[in-house]
């Protein structure tokens, strides 16, 4: 059963305040994923204090870096059920977990952080992992 919207609101805002687009419906997810060109990061947000409490600040830190995905969006597991189910359909081979983070390049999944790779880590450590993925997949190659 979804938690109270009042409880969840600050957890949503921790990401939306960074400019992360919130996808509330399956149609939102379809529209967002329909734009395949470039790099896109999708965060499956969660109430879980053990892991999401580290994931959200980690996303903030990672997005402060010079290299970042072209687009960033989020769905909220356990809250926006339809949107989350549709989002997970884009990485259906991976067991569902939340929080989790998926990175796409030109519509293809290239990097995934499941919940157990977030649990117990400090935000700086998670952000470091994300930063490495951004460097690998989101950096624009210099033309020389």
């Amino acid at each position: 059963m979804p938690y109270s919207p009042m409880l969840v609101k600050p957890m949503r805002e921790e990401l939306t305040s960074l400019g992360v687009e919130e996808l509330l419906t399956a149609a939102d997810v379809e529209r967002w994923m329909g734009q395949r060109e470039g790099t896109a990061m999708l965060i499956v947000n969660s109430v879980c204090g053990c892991a999401a409490g580290g994931a959200r600040p980690a996303v903030r830190l990672a997005l402060e870096g010079a290299v970042r995905p072209d687009r960033v969006a989020t769905v909220f597991a356990g809250q926006d059920l339809e949107a989350t189910a549709r989002a997970r359909g884009f990485f259906a081979d991976i067991p569902p977990s939340s929080p989790s983070i998926a990175l796409f390049k030109d519509g293809e999944l290239v990097y995934f952080v499941p919940r157990h790779r977030i649990e117990g880590k400090m935000p700086q450590e998670i952000a470091g992992d994300l930063g490495q993925a951004f460097e690998r997949w989101c950096a624009t190659a210099a033309i020389g």
Partner: protein, 93 residues
Amino acid sequence: MGTFHQDKGELHGVTVVVDTDGPEVFVGRCHEVRPDGVLLLDADVHNAAAGTASKQEWVRRAAAYGVWAKHKSLLVPSERVASIQRLGDVATE
């Protein structure tokens, strides 16, 4: 770092690998380590005796992406627990 249920122990809410002295290995979200065993939520179990993969191979795959929750909750009896570790600490390569 847990925000909720801090009385359940340091592994509460953490995805763990529970190894046994036998062919079975379990992965799930630890709810509680208690005298009678380790209570896992959303867990899966692998039996290496089935011959599909060794325990190490299965755990390494689990470490990369996680496991499908085949059991909503599952108690691994304490007498069968050989070790318990965070799945996030297992190398994926």
